[in-house]
C-alpha cells in the first residue's frame, strides 16, 4: 500500500457464455482491476466464444476504450488463470510503455442516418420529438410514481454492461431514475453452476453497495467486512414468493449458501423500481435463475 503500490492493469471484461466465474475470480487478483466502464480500461478481455449477435456490441465496446488499448482473448479452457494474468501483466507493461495500440473496429460515425426535421433536426412537433441520428428525442409519458408526465428516455443496455449479468440486453424506459418499462432483448449467456457460487454472488452485490475491497475479499474466499452491509439493502426489495427478499438473499450469500430461487419475468419484476434498486435485485439472483427468468424474445 501507499506510494509504492503499482498501477494495476485496468481490464474491461466482455464475458461470454460459461466464463463468468473464471473471469470474476481472475479480476479479483492483486495487480488487476475490473473497470466499471470501458472509458476507464486499457485492456479489453474477451472471454469465451462470443455468439454472432454480440459481435457488433463487442466492437462498439472495443472502440469505447481510450487509446492506447489492447484486446486479449481467453477462449481456451485449458489456459489457466495464472497464465492469463501473466499475459495481462505483460500486455499492460507494453501498453504503459506505449508499445501497443489498436485502431477502431467501427467507423466513428453516428449509428444511424440523420432523420431529424428542420435545419437542426429538432423535428417532431414544435421543438419536441424527431429522431436525429436515429435516436428518438425524449417525449412525455405516463409516470408510474407520482403522475407527473415528464420525459421518458428509452435505451438499450447490455450485453457487456458490468452491472448486468453478461449477455443480458435490456431495453429500459426510464423516467428520471425510475424504470417504467423493461423488456429483455437478449437473454443472459448460459453459465455453468460455478457462477452461482455464493462468494461470487455476494461480491456482485457488495460492488453495487460501494464496497469494492470487501467484494474482492469475498471472491478470494475471505470474509468480507463492512458496516451496515445487510441493512443497506432496503427491506422489501425484490421480494419473491417463498424466497424472501434481496436482503435475505445477500445474507444467505454471505453465510455461504446459494439459495435456489425462481426469479419472475424481468419485464414484470423491474418496472417501478429505481435503477439502483433494480440492479441490486438483479444481482441478488444467482445467474442461473436470471437465465430462467429472462424469456427469449420471439423472433426478434
Amino acid at each position: 500500500m501507499g506510494l509504492s503500490s503499482p498501477d494495476p492493469a485496468s481490464v474491461f471484461a466482455a464475458i461470454g457464455p460459461g466464463w463468468q466465474a473464471p473471469v470474476e475470480r481472475l479480476l479479483a487478483r492483486q495487480g488487476l482491476r475490473r473497470a466499471l466502464t470501458p472509458r476507464d480500461a486499457g485492456i479489453l478481455l474477451v472471454a469465451g466464444d462470443m455468439p454472432g449477435t454480440a459481435a457488433e456490441a463487442l466492437s462498439r465496446v472495443h472502440d469505447q476504450l481510450p487509446h492506447p488499448r489492447v484486446t486479449l482473448r481467453w477462449t481456451i479452457a485449458e489456459e489457466t488463470a495464472d497464465a492469463v494474468a501473466e499475459r495481462i501483466a505483460a500486455t499492460w507493461r507494453d501498453l504503459r510503455a506505449g508499445e501497443a495500440d489498436e485502431s477502431d473496429h467501427l467507423p466513428d460515425q453516428p449509428p444511424n442516418e440523420w432523420k431529424g426535421v428542420g435545419p437542426h433536426g429538432q423535428g417532431g412537433k414544435g421543438m419536441m420529438g424527431g429522431t436525429p441520428y436515429g435516436r428518438t428525442m425524449a417525449m412525455t409519458g405516463e409516470d408510474i410514481r407520482d403522475g407527473l408526465q415528464l420525459d421518458r428516455y428509452t435505451a438499450r443496455i447490455g450485453p457487456f454492461a458490468p452491472m448486468l449479468p453478461p449477455g443480458l440486453v435490456l431495453e429500459v424506459t426510464l423516467q428520471g431514475d425510475v424504470i417504467v418499462a423493461a423488456s429483455v432483448q437478449s437473454p443472459p449467456f448460459a453459465q455453468p453452476a460455478d457462477a452461482d457460487a455464493p462468494e461470487l454472488c455476494a461480491a456482485r452485490m457488495l460492488t453495487l453497495l460501494g464496497l469494492d475491497e470487501p467484494a474482492r475479499r469475498s471472491i478470494r474466499g475471505r470474509r468480507p467486512s463492512g458496516f451496515w452491509v445487510r441493512g443497506a439493502v432496503p427491506r422489501d426489495l425484490g421480494r419473491i414468493k417463498d424466497a424472501g427478499n434481496a436482503r435475505d438473499r445477500l445474507a444467505a450469500f454471505l453465510a455461504g449458501d446459494s439459495p435456489a430461487v425462481a426469479a419472475t419475468d424481468l419485464s414484470e419484476l423491474l418496472p417501478g423500481l429505481e435503477w439502483s434498486e433494480a440492479m441490486l435485485v438483479l444481482a441478488s439472483f444467482p445467474p442461473s435463475s436470471i437465465l430462467r427468468a429472462a424469456p427469449i424474445p420471439e423472433a426478434a
Binding site: 458490468p162 452491472m163 457488495l206
Partner: protein
C-alpha cells in the same frame, strides 16, 4: 505573512491530495491515467466539462483558505468564515452536477441528478452543525471558533457534531456511502464517459476536497492549530491527516444504500437529529 499563509494553503492542499491518493494506493494508477487518451463524447457541453474539475479544485482551495493555520492567522481572515465554507459546499453540488451534465450521456446525467437530490438535503445538517459550532464562540469567524476551544474541544462539547459532519464530508468528496454521483450501478456515474487526464484530474480534485473538508473538521471540532509544544500549523496538519484517514476508512467500509432510501434517512432521521444537536448546543452555550 499573507504569502506564507498562501503557501501553507496551497502546500497543504497539494501534499494532502497526494497523501489521500497514496492512502487509496492509487498514485501510479492516476499517474498512468494522465498519459491516456481523453475521449470526446457526442455534442458535450465543452466549457462546463473542462471547468468542472477546475471548479472543484478551486472550491477546495477556497474552503481551505478560511482555515486558521495558527491561532489568529488565516489566509482569508473573514468575520463570516464559516459561511464562506458553507458557500463552497453549495457550489460543490453545482460543480458535481455540471460534471455529470456536460458529457451529454445518460449514466453521467443520472449520477448528477441523484447527487443533487442527496446533497441538497445534506446541506441542512451541515449548516446546523456549523452554526452550533459557532454558538460557543459567539462569532461566525473560524478564528473565534478556534479561540473558543482553548479549554475544551467542540468534539467533546457537541458530541453529535462530528458524526453529522462526517456525512457532509463524505458527500462533498463523493466517497463510500454518500457517493451517489459516481456509483457502480451506473458505471461510475458522472465519470462514466471520461477517460485519461479528465478522469485523473477529477480524482485529484476529490482528494483535495477531502483535505480541505478534513482541515475544516479539525478546526471546528478539534481546536485546529491549538496544542501544546508544537507550532500551530503542525497541530493542524496532524489533526487533518488523522481525520483524512478516518473519513477515507469510513468511506471504504460503510455500505451505500439506494438513493431513495438515503433520501428518507436524510429527511426523517438526520434532519431532526441535527435540529436536536443545534438545540442542545444552544442550551449548553447559554
Amino acid at each position: 505573512m499573507i504569502v506564507l499563509l498562501a503557501l501553507a494553503v496551497l502546500g497543504t492542499l497539494g501534499l494532502g491530495a497526494v497523501l489521500v491518493v497514496a492512502m487509496d494506493g492509487r498514485i501510479a494508477q492516476l499517474a498512468g491515467q494522465f498519459a491516456r487518451q481523453r475521449i470526446e463524447t457526442e455534442a458535450p457541453d465543452r466549457l462546463n466539462r473542462d471547468l468542472a474539475p477546475v471548479w472543484y479544485l478551486a472550491l477546495a482551495a477556497a474552503g481551505l483558505s478560511v482555515v486558521p493555520f495558527a491561532p489568529g492567522h488565516a489566509l482569508l481572515d473573514s468575520p463570516v468564515g464559516i459561511v464562506i465554507w458553507g458557500t463552497c459546499e453549495a457550489l460543490t453540488i453545482v460543480t458535481v452536477f455540471l460534471h455529470g451534465w456536460a458529457p451529454n450521456a445518460p449514466f453521467p446525467l443520472i449520477g448528477a441528478y441523484r447527487y443533487v437530490a442527496i446533497a441538497l438535503p445534506v446541506m441542512l445538517p451541515s449548516m446546523f452543525v456549523l452554526i452550533a459550532a459557532a454558538l460557543p464562540a459567539e462569532s461566525l469567524s473560524l478564528l473565534a471558533i478556534v479561540e473558543s476551544q482553548r479549554e475544551i474541544w467542540n468534539v467533546a462539547r457537541q458530541p453529535l457534531g462530528l458524526p453529522l459532519f462526517a456525512i457532509v464530508v463524505l458527500t462533498l468528496t463523493l466517497r463510500g456511502p454518500m457517493d451517489f454521483a459516481d456509483a457502480a450501478d451506473i458505471a461510475t456515474g458522472t465519470s462514466a464517459d471520461e477517460s485519461g487526464s479528465a478522469r485523473a484530474l477529477w480524482e485529484v480534485a476529490r482528494a483535495a476536497m477531502l483535505v480541505s473538508a478534513s482541515a475544516l473538521a479539525a478546526t471546528v471540532f478539534f481546536g485546529g492549530p491549538l496544542g501544546p509544544a508544537l507550532p500551530g500549523p503542525v497541530w493542524l496538519w496532524i489533526k487533518t491527516a488523522a481525520l483524512v484517514a478516518a473519513f477515507a476508512w469510513l468511506g471504504r467500509r460503510i455500505a451505500r444504500t439506494t438513493p431513495s432510501r438515503m433520501l428518507t434517512i436524510l429527511w426523517v432521521v438526520l434532519l431532526p437529529l441535527s435540529f436536536l444537536h443545534l438545540a442542545i448546543s444552544g442550551v449548553i452555550a447559554l
